[in-house]
């Protein structure tokens, strides 16, 4: 069956199409170029509508142990935002940590078709994939967390060659069915267990003869040499500490020119100037990003209101626990693999620090020149729930609205920010880049994020409204794999997604070393640890789609 989307304004930055009227054709779940004269079986009249590829969120916490802990800790969130069952959709609740069903439906209702969980602890990978498989409407994927696990630190301390590390990293990707590698506070979570409360980029770990810089260099090299498309996904040291711009710049340098992705960089762009020893370093960070083409960032924008911070960064979550609102929190170790901290938080627009955090995020968006290297995230739910994306898009596209909001925040913070002087307004094309084309490119997903023939027919159609917030909050149509799944902002068909993975080659001899480590220290056997493709498809219910790697010579 051939479906024609006729007359829409196409925004497809991957092909350089910026708001041109064109027809799109769908057959068998893919975009196709039909033979001349072929009649479509069904035509949607999209004259005057905006057509983009389905949006991709490359950093959103939707699965894994910490999300469940947050759900359990905040039953009031589930109660206050309850979504009633319909004939089609199941009941679900929560806004700051929505249930799997609510998250999937809500993402689709905003035009998102793919989302990535950025913190999959290898030990928790099975559960994370089960949760993501339970999240309807979305294709999903995860980044495996390394860099605080004792095996990697032990191998590095022994001075093994880079090839061994590469094998271990590649084995981890395969065993945990992940698409990228993330490092959270490199070495810091591990150092926390040795009673360190701070670990700077060049500070030696209290137990291992290593610094965070060593870990960053080794892992970014491994990811690059294995040809994993997504650069090392880095949650840098010193999150949230005034003056942490210095360690953020050092983190960028630690990659030594290899690709590196700095996530929720807003939390890492703080200066220590001014009467309150807290200031914006967005200009310095943005300049560094602009200057180094190997760096990509996502912002982790703060939006005002109640949310919950969930992070593997036990060290920083412990330091922030006294700010918990409501006053309940937890930090825990997860089987010596890494950590987990859950601290509910309310960002207040009249609070100096929170207001400045909000402004710093927007400054970063507006001062990083290349929209292909900055991604739209709130680090859901750490900066704000993902449901605030439409408002964030309006802040980026509408300077008048932005300045109105700026006039309402804490005046001291507003005075310290140069946000009011930034005249840039994002275009629709740039929004399409940062929410579609660029995430697909940085993750190595050739089959999505664009509208060329051969792509998966993940397509979002928006009404052309004056207010971008309304435009992006409620798409007219969403197609997922060629099927119409959302009409006028409401789910009309429920589909299930697949898990996106990469599978770099490695020498299986590494399993001997890993197996001995498991036998000696872990709670399960190696044989029970790895997740097979069969288990993904049959047991977990989210079959894998393998994306190619480009292995470089070592």
């Amino acid at each position: 069956m051939l479906t024609r989307l006729a007359g829409g304004l196409i925004y497809d930055p991957a092909q350089g199409i910026d708001g041109e009227v064109r027809d799109l054709f769908i057959r068998d779940g893919q975009l196709v170029a039909p033979a001349p004269g072929e009649d479509p079986d069904h035509t949607y009249d999209l004259r005057g509508k905006l057509v983009m590829a389905g949006a991709i969120d490359l950093h959103t916490h939707i699965g894994g142990g910490k999300v469940n802990i947050a759900r359990t800790m905040l039953p009031e969130d589930q109660r206050a935002h309850c979504r009633a069952r319909t004939a089609l959709t199941r009941t679900g609740g929560g806004q700051v940590v929505p249930s799997t069903f609510a998250a999937g439906y809500r993402y689709a209702e905003m035009g998102y078709t793919t989302a990535f969980e950025p913190a999959v602890l290898p030990m928790n990978a099975r559960q994370a994939h089960m949760e993501m498989a339970d999240t309807p409407m979305l294709d999903t994927g995860g980044y495996a967390m390394l860099g605080n696990d004792d095996l990697l630190l032990q191998l590095m301390s022994e001075g093994v060659g880079q090839e061994v590390i590469n094998d271990y990293v590649a084995w981890t990707l395969k065993a945990t069915q992940c698409i990228g590698i993330k490092v959270v506070n490199p070495g810091g979570i591990n150092a926390f267990k040795f009673n360190a409360r701070k670990l700077d980029v060049d500070e030696r770990h209290p137990h291992y003869p290593l610094t965070p810089r060593d870990i960053l260099r080794t892992l970014s090299r491994a990811v690059a040499e294995l040809g994993v498309p997504h650069p090392l996904h880095v949650h840098a040291s010193n999150l949230g500490i005034p003056g942490n711009q210095v360690s953020t710049l050092a983190t960028i340098d630690a990659a030594e020119g290899l690709p590196i992705h700095l996530t929720h960089i807003q939390f890492h762009s703080y200066g220590a100037e001014g009467d309150r020893r807290f200031s914006s370093a967005a200009a310095v960070i943005a300049e560094a990003v602009n200057r180094r083409p190997n760096v990509t960032i996502d912002v982790g924008q703060v939006m005002f209101g109640q949310t919950v911070t969930v992070s593997g960064d036990t060290m920083r979550q412990y330091a922030n626990h006294q700010h918990a609102h409501p006053r309940k929190w937890t930090c825990m170790d997860i089987e010596c693999d890494a950590g987990c901290g859950v601290v509910p938080f309310r960002y207040r627009d009249q609070n100096f620090v929170n207001a400045l955090q909000w402004a710093i995020g927007l400054e970063l968006f507006l001062m990083v020149d290349d929209p292909w290297r900055v991604f739209l995230t709130t680090d859901h739910p750490n900066g704000a729930p993902f449901t605030s994306y439409p408002r964030l898009i309006r802040l980026l596209m509408d300077r008048g609205f932005r300045n109105d909001c700026l006039a309402q925040i804490n005046p001291e913070a507003a005075a310290l920010s140069n946000l009011g002087s930034l005249t840039r307004e994002y275009s629709r094309n740039e929004i399409a880049i940062m929410t579609r084309a660029a995430p697909a490119r940085i993750l190595g997903l050739a089959d999505r994020g664009h509208l060329a023939p051969g792509a998966r027919a993940d397509i979002t159609v928006y009404h052309d409204l004056a207010d971008p917030e309304q435009t992006f909050a409620r798409p007219m149509l969403v197609f997922k794999g060629g099927e119409l799944v959302v009409e006028e902002g409401a789910v009309t068909r429920v589909v299930r997604g697949r898990t996106q993975v990469v599978r770099p080659e490695f020498d299986p001899a590494i399993e001997g070393r890993i197996g001995r480590w498991f036998d000696r220290y872990h709670s399960i056997r190696l044989a029970n640890f790895a997740i097979t493709d069969t288990e993904m498809a049959a047991g977990i219910g989210s079959p894998v789609t393998i994306h190619p790697c480009n292995r470089r010579s070592t």
Binding site: M73, L74, P75, E76, R79, R85, P326, K328
Partner: protein, 270 residues
């Protein structure tokens, strides 16, 4: 004007959420519109008219006649008017009530008055567990208003309570006033085990000697000034709560829970 009257026709098997039936939310609706209000009965959607005989009347004065303990959430979040229940009420009666009055002639289920911030609840029969307490996940129980129970109340009365007054005519269950942050609980009957467990501040006023946890210290016999004010304020109430002035103001005082700051007090009329 007569009351808006809802008479339960047959006791339902599943629990019914009646939180939509408050004077605030029914204001301006006709009896027909009220009959058409959606209700969930188990996993099936029904209308109010399927379960109740509705007689038109003043939406600020609602009368519910029911002999079932399945009707939950009566008076949730109400800010004005009156709800009278002739019969029994289920769980979460007057949850997060902000004003107005609720009276129930019979017994109520757990969590009556949980999180309430104002208004009054009168229970003619017995109250279930967690009267005026916080529900799981919440950090604050009752924060204002007054609850009167003529009969007995269950365990965990005033758990996490922060303000407001709870009056129990009969006996209280275990853990009465546990984790109390502030506010006052008066029990005219006996009390159970672990009274005042983990209380920070606030007052438990009793007529009989309680079994206190070991983390309470005796503080002698005193005549606190506030007691005369409290009993005078309550003198207008009917029944046993209106006659507390006769007990005088001389009380034995204990301080605790010492594991939690020890600024709470347990007073027992001498």
């Amino acid at each position: 004007m007569t009351s808006l009257t809802l008479e339960l026709t047959a006791p339902p098997m599943p629990r019914i959420d009646l939180s939509a039936l408050t004077p605030d939310r029914l204001a301006g609706r006709s009896a027909d519109a009220i009959r058409r209000l959606p209700l969930w009965v188990g996993n099936e959607e029904a209308t109010l008219g399927d379960l109740f005989t509705v007689t038109a009347g003043d939406t600020d004065d609602i009368l519910i006649r029911c002999d079932s303990d399945r009707l939950d959430g009566i008076g949730t979040g109400m800010s004005r008017g009156a709800i009278r229940v002739e019969g029994r009420a289920g769980a979460y009666l007057g949850r997060q009530q902000r004003g107005g009055t609720i009276s129930v002639s019979g017994d109520t289920g757990p969590f009556a008055g949980s999180g309430m911030t104002g208004g009054g609840i009168e229970i003619g029969g017995n109250a279930g567990d967690f009267l005026g307490a916080a529900i799981p996940g919440e950090r604050r129980g009752m924060r204002g208003g007054r609850i009167q129970v003529r009969g007995n109340a269950g365990d965990r009365i005033g758990d996490h309570q922060r303000r407001g007054l709870i009056l129990i005519g009969g006996d209280a269950g275990d853990y009465c006033g546990s984790r109390l942050v502030a506010g006052t609980i008066v029990v005219l009957g006996r009390t159970g085990a672990n009274l005042g467990f983990a209380m920070r501040r606030g007052t438990l006023l009793l007529t009989s000697q309680p079994r206190l946890p070991p983390t309470f210290n005796p503080n002698g016999t005193q005549e606190p000034g506030f007691l005369a004010l409290l009993t005078r304020d309550l003198a207008g109430l009917g029944g046993p709560f209106g006659q507390l002035q006769a007990r005088g103001t001389r009380v034995h005082r204990w301080l605790g829970d010492l594991g939690y700051g020890g600024q709470g007090e347990v007073l027992v009329w001498a």
